[in-house]
């Protein structure tokens, strides 16, 4: 039996330890993991019941970062919530912008010009790169590979954030897309700079691969851990790399062909086992595909206007109706559902948050695993609490 008495006398705000009496052979231990915990990626809490080191029950607890984003957006104009979408998934502000712009364009019938579509693809794929490198760095940090991989990853991410800064004025809170186009045109020399960053990128991926992907400890920690079976992945509405690691071929860039994604040929990496390793590998391979898309887009981008001339900045009032627009965000399907009643504010504004919905099957993935594995399973799902709690 675990002796937990020594904990009672100490101040332990984030770990509640409770003796539950005998359950068969061993004692069950209830641990409240979070909300202040380095490996929950923000203010997220899991109520975990442990049998020794094994997880027997896990309940996620949400809401610590809830600020009712949807209500705030319903009380303001359409355009005024564009900068606020940056703060949802604060690592991927440009894809958030795109998803919202896409939904509004469907609602109001706007068509972005060719050049804007290319800029959107370029910025979105760069965002996918930053998100995936960040995730891989954090995942290895969670696994105990302290520092080095994360710093390598952040070094590369910084190059891309510099590009965002010179384009939009901000590293992370970009606020760049507008309904029917983009806010500003590319600064001179930006495409060349991007090409240079991208030329260096495969070298980093190769270096990282050599350092990490074949690493014995990584393989031992991740293979067969946190398996999400194919059927459960579909049933529980998992999307993005989590879904594709379970072997379901569903990429919204291919299915909906929104924007101009039908002009690019790229492959959709799929996993076989649905474990943490597959989720890691799918992201690494997705970065390789993104590089291909980026190269093609930089080559083909035409000159021209960047905003639909029909788009109105002032007095924007879409006709009454509704629209659901979705994109393949780096974390999964990011959708916006809007209802207009003809007024300047949306009547209903809903964000479909991939981070939150991918957590539906978290308990199923963690049952029977050790508590240390629960940490990397959560890491491999890739959540950002700004989006989970909204």
């Amino acid at each position: 039996m675990h002796d937990t008495r020594h904990l009672d006398s100490q101040a332990q705000p984030s770990y509640r330890v409770e003796s539950r009496g005998h359950h068969g052979a061993s004692d069950l231990l209830e641990v409240s993991m979070g909300p202040q915990h380095p490996s929950t990626h923000g203010v997220f809490r899991m109520d975990v019941v442990l049998d020794g080191e094994r997880v027997v029950k896990l309940k996620p607890v949400f809401g610590y970062l809830h600020r009712n984003h949807e209500k705030i957006a319903e009380n303001t104009t359409y355009l005024a919530s564009m900068p606020y979408t940056d703060r949802l998934d604060y690592l991927c502000s440009l894809t958030n912008n795109w998803a919202y712009a896409l939904a509004v364009e469907k609602l109001a019938g706007l068509q972005p010009p060719e050049r804007a579509e290319y800029i959107r693809v370029i910025t979105a794929e760069l965002t996918r790169l930053t998100n995936h490198i960040c995730l891989i760095g954090f995942l290895l940090q969670d696994m105990g590979a302290s520092g080095t991989p994360l710093m390598y990853a952040f070094r590369e991410r910084e190059n891309i954030l510099d590009l965002f800064e010179s384009l939009t004025g901000a590293r992370m809170m970009c606020n760049y897309m507008r309904f029917g186009g983009c806010r500003v045109d590319l600064p001179p020399g930006w495409l060349e700079q991007t090409s240079q960053v991208l030329d260096r990128f495969p070298k980093f991926l190769e270096e990282f691969d050599r350092l990490i992907s074949g690493n014995e400890i990584l393989i031992a920690r991740t293979q067969g851990v946190g398996v999400l079976p194919r059927d459960l992945a579909i049933q529980s509405s998992a999307t993005g790399p989590v879904l594709r690691a379970s072997g379901v071929n569903y990429d919204i860039r291919k299915v909906d062909k929104y924007g101009i994604y039908d002009r690019f040929s790229f492959r959709v990496p799929l996993g076989e086992h649905g474990d943490v390793y597959d989720r890691y590998m799918v992201r690494v391979l997705e970065m390789h595909e993104s590089l291909g898309i980026l190269k093609k887009a930089i080559q083909d981008i035409p000159p021209g206007p960047i905003v639909d001339p029909k788009a109105k900045i002032r007095g924007f009032r879409p006709k009454a109706g509704e629209a659901y627009g979705r994109i393949e965000g780096p974390k999964g399907e990011l959708g916006f559902y809007l209802i207009s009643d003809g007024s300047p504010n949306p009547y209903r504004y809903r964000v479909r948050p991939p981070s939150l919905i991918n957590l539906t099957a978290l308990e199923d993935m963690c049952l029977g695993q050790t508590i240390a594995d629960a940490v990397i399973i959560l890491g491999s799902i890739d959540i950002v609490l700004g989006e989970v709690d909204r």
Binding site: A238, A320, A323
Partner: protein, 215 residues
């Protein structure tokens, strides 16, 4: 994929009591939706999931919408015969939208890669008849989203395995996403002994005088 009209017709043929109706959408998106009778919501959902032509195996988005009672007045021109002469008279016609809450589900098919089919369920009103059948037994992806709807809109989902508040804390009483929700003056207000101490202290000194420091 077949059109929403065709799907509505096939639902009504398969489940005649479902009373499926097409809800029009005037926006350029053209995403029309299907409204079905509340009590048969789960049966229709199961049919949509298992139908060989649709195979809607993926619930993408589930959300609530609040529709408070709305009375709209429209001026309508009518021809009337007044004193034997035909005249055009303006009349004010009142139309009333009854109050209800709505759950909206966006369905796609991962197998056949089509969608969205939008399914709507409506409650009887906004106060006491706020129960809808939960679709979590059909698509588990609705689990957290229905908890969110319950939390923010107050729709009771019958048959949900674990219907608790998702984002607000358990002791919270209201439903913040409703249109008539009034924010509290102070979110952080807590009735603490401090208030009692304050009232007590006020009896010890005269109004307008500074409180005497304890000796």
């Amino acid at each position: 994929m077949e059109s929403t009209e065709q799907i509505v017709a096939r639902i009504n043929a398969a489940i005649p009591t479902a009373k499926a109706v097409l809800v029009p959408n005037e926006a350029p998106s053209g995403q029309t939706s299907i409204l079905v009778a509340t009590d048969l919501g789960r049966k229709v959902a199961l049919w949509l999931r298992d139908d060989a032509q649709l195979r809607l195996d993926y619930l993408s988005n589930a959300t609530g919408v609040d529709w408070p009672e709305l009375v709209t007045k429209q001026k309508v021109k009518k021809k009337k015969v007044v004193d034997g002469v035909e005249k055009e008279v303006e009349e004010v016609v009142e139309s009333r939208r009854p109050p209800y809450l709505e759950a909206v589900y966006h369905l796609y098919s991962m197998e056949l890669k089509h969608g969205p089919v939008v399914l709507r369920l409506r409650t009887g009103n906004r106060s006491d008849a706020v129960t809808l059948p939960s679709l979590t037994p059909v698509w588990r992806g609705a689990e957290l989203q229905e908890r969110e709807i319950y939390d923010l809109y107050g729709i009771q989902f019958e048959g949900h395995p674990d219907l608790r508040r998702l984002l607000m804390w358990e002791e919270f009483v209201d439903h913040p996403m409703r249109k008539d929700y009034v924010e509290p003056d102070d979110y952080e207000y807590e009735p603490t002994p401090h208030d009692e101490v304050l009232t007590k202290a006020k009896t010890h000194y005269e109004m307008g005088q500074p409180a005497a420091s304890p000796k």
